[in-house]
Assembly symmetry: C2
Homo-oligomer: 404 residues x 2
């Protein structure tokens, strides 16, 4: 395989960036979190591929950390965007699409009787926390460490955030202990739809955990909030815990729901409808119509084009190949989580040294994976893409094995 | 003037909305906050005009509550958007435009040495609070009531938000009292660039207030945070307090900076550069390139087309006409605030009964103003638009005078 060479244009732009942006680039897309020599800036993208500033092509296994469910520039999504944009995007009120999108969510996600829309996943999580507190009159929120950070982390810098306490994913005893520590004062439990902590093996959900959590929330009068921000539309076409017959009271969605257009959603049950009206839930761009049109098209494409099955098929092929190749090279590698959002980590690699080395080997072979965060399949990944990934991964395993 | 008639299509959609969205529509664009018979949904918009679902045309004096600085579908902004969208919007990292936009902000806003970008205005405010706390090691935030709500209002429902206390705009004694109440523990002061509380007369900034505030922050080692979310690019092309020679440590921007595309910015000084790297500041869509390209074009259009002077000219014409007409009709009306963001309220109209009645008379004459919130001029408003507004306002004053 030809290996990607130097990145001089990217380097030159980094030198300008560091002057006017703290750290050059902040947040999850900072190249400092990838591997030495990873590209920082993106020139263009199409389908399952993207290009850096120096012209190197990559197969995109991160899908922009989730949003690109159907790949870049999906025709049906972008057509819907163009149609709405020609009318109005940011108006003095919402457009008709807000009603169509709310109807589509209510029809698609079993527990949902209503929907509200915002921009960030954390907007929906914040609102869910407010709703839990308003409707129960209690204070504490129990949450697992994989969930999206609620924004009362504004107290960062002086002390740990208040009125929040942690549970362990898939561990009912930890939930029981949380309810005991804050007896009578737990407003809600926020839990991710599957277990994903950065840099750790992922965990599928134990159905008994989901069902037990629902029971405990009912017993203690607490609101069950499902964080679907990462999982939404990559596990099922509806709510991720429907297969366990567990209905949350609220669920928070974002990332993949509009194929890269900025929107998040809070879905809830009838019992919380009036409370939802009593909280502040508002933002300058939250009524913008274009991301709503994109979301409607994204969900419809997923359903009409059998998108989930296609992602599961490609994901299973990829996960199987990675495990087989690693064994062949004598490497002890764990590929964990849903096959549509796999994460590869070398066993015992607590500091992710080998995992980062392998990701770098993938990167210079034109496959973009993250050493610390789960990856994302999209419906744009073809069998040929996965074959090319496998060629790269075989060589990347060989390179790591040789360096060990 | 022909008056707008009934709104049957709007009504039919409201009936669908109420089934799947709490309250039908939530937040600041809810028609329940306008006047009886106001349209809830927007069909389309162009320049300074928009249309409701029943085909009624309006001159837009709200500019979508601020964002539409150059009117809907501005050619140069949308061309920049199309160029960037053809490359990449939501990628695995930022595009080159993030550096260009940060450079443009640093060049444009005097106090700014660096820029970071997010989606909501409150994202920038939250980050500013974190930064103030991290860099000072103190806890309390003093804020005037007109500033954008920081998100530790997640404690809503159980008790008032903690570690925040209020000052009165233009009242240095209230700031001094705040510093005294929390002696040695004030991390920062957040203040809006001019005084705007919903439903109240607006206040221009007293330069001595701005300068005194800066001095007090220096004396007490507190961070001065200027909330430019509403004011940004409608008072000056740089920071709103530059004319008073007052440089804040941080400023938060959103709304008008990208002509309706969703983005916010936090600008800061070199002294806070390292601290900025130490806080969480991250969101799924914050690196998206299209709103950044829109922001660059929006700022460049404002500068190159003398946008501020044009808005001031139209605004002054409008404010003068409203005052003159009201007097002519024997009405005691106050038009307050910057002429680019005026607010009209009948004197002593605490419950806004007359003000709402007047706004309704404007609405049925095809001019969209808000009875409780300041309005916004844009560079798309023509002299002819303002003339048409004046025709409507003259009739609206007459109608209110007759009903009194």
């Amino acid at each position: 395989m030809t290996l990607h060479g130097h990145r001089s244009v990217d380097d030159a732009l980094r030198a300008r960036a560091i002057e006017v942006i703290p750290g050059g680039v902040y947040g999850h897309t900072s190249a400092s979190r990838l591997w030495a020599g990873a590209p920082q800036f993106i020139k263009s993208a199409r389908g399952s591929r993207f290009w850096d500033l120096d012209g190197h092509e990559y197969i995109d296994l991160m899908c922009s950390w989730g949003p690109m469910l159907h790949g870049h520039h999906h025709r049906k999504v972008d057509d819907a965007v163009d149609r709405q944009a020609a009318l109005v995007n940011c108006g003095n009120g919402p457009a008709e699409v807000i009603v169509e999108l709310a109807e589509l969510f209510v029809e698609t996600v079993e527990h949902a009787n209503w929907a509200m829309f915002a921009k960030n996943g954390s907007d929906a999580i914040n609102a869910a926390i407010k709703l839990a507190r308003v409707s129960t009159g209690k204070r504490f929120i129990l949450t697992d460490e994989g969930t999206s950070p609620p924004s009362d982390s504004v107290s960062q810098g002086t002390r740990p955030s208040e009125n929040r306490d942690y549970i362990v994913f898939n561990d009912l005893a930890s939930v029981e202990a949380g309810f005991k520590r804050h007896a009578g004062d737990v407003a809600g439990v926020i839990v991710s739809a599957f277990g994903h902590k950065p840099g750790e093996d992922q965990e599928l959900t134990n159905p008994a955990f989901a069902q037990g959590l629902r029971q405990m929330c009912d017993i203690h009068g607490a609101t069950l909030i499902l964080d679907e921000i990462r999982s939404g539309f990559r596990l099922t076409s509806g709510g991720s815990w429907e297969e366990f017959a567990v209905a949350p009271d609220l669920s928070a969605w974002s990332k993949a729901i509009a194929n890269g257009y900025p929107i998040s959603a809070l879905l809830g049950t009838d019992a919380l409808r009036d409370a939802a009206l009593s909280i502040e839930f508002d933002g300058s761009f939250w009524m913008s119509a274009v991301p709503m049109a994109a979301a409607i098209a994204t969900i419809n494409v997923l359903k009409s084009e059998d998108g989930l099955n296609r992602m599961y098929t490609r994901g299973a092929q990829l996960v199987h190949a990675l495990r087989t190749q690693a064994r062949k090279h004598g490497l002890d590698v764990r590929v964990t989580g849903p096959v549509t959002m796999p994460y590869l980590k070398f066993a015992g690699d607590d500091k992710l040294a080998l995992t980062s080395q392998w990701a770098a080997q993938m990167g210079i072979r034109g496959v973009f994976v993250h050493p610390r965060h789960n990856w994302f399949l999209s419906t744009a990944h073809t069998a040929d893409d996965i074959n090319r990934v496998q060629e790269a991964s075989d060589e990347a395993f060989a390179a790591v094995a040789e360096q060990m």
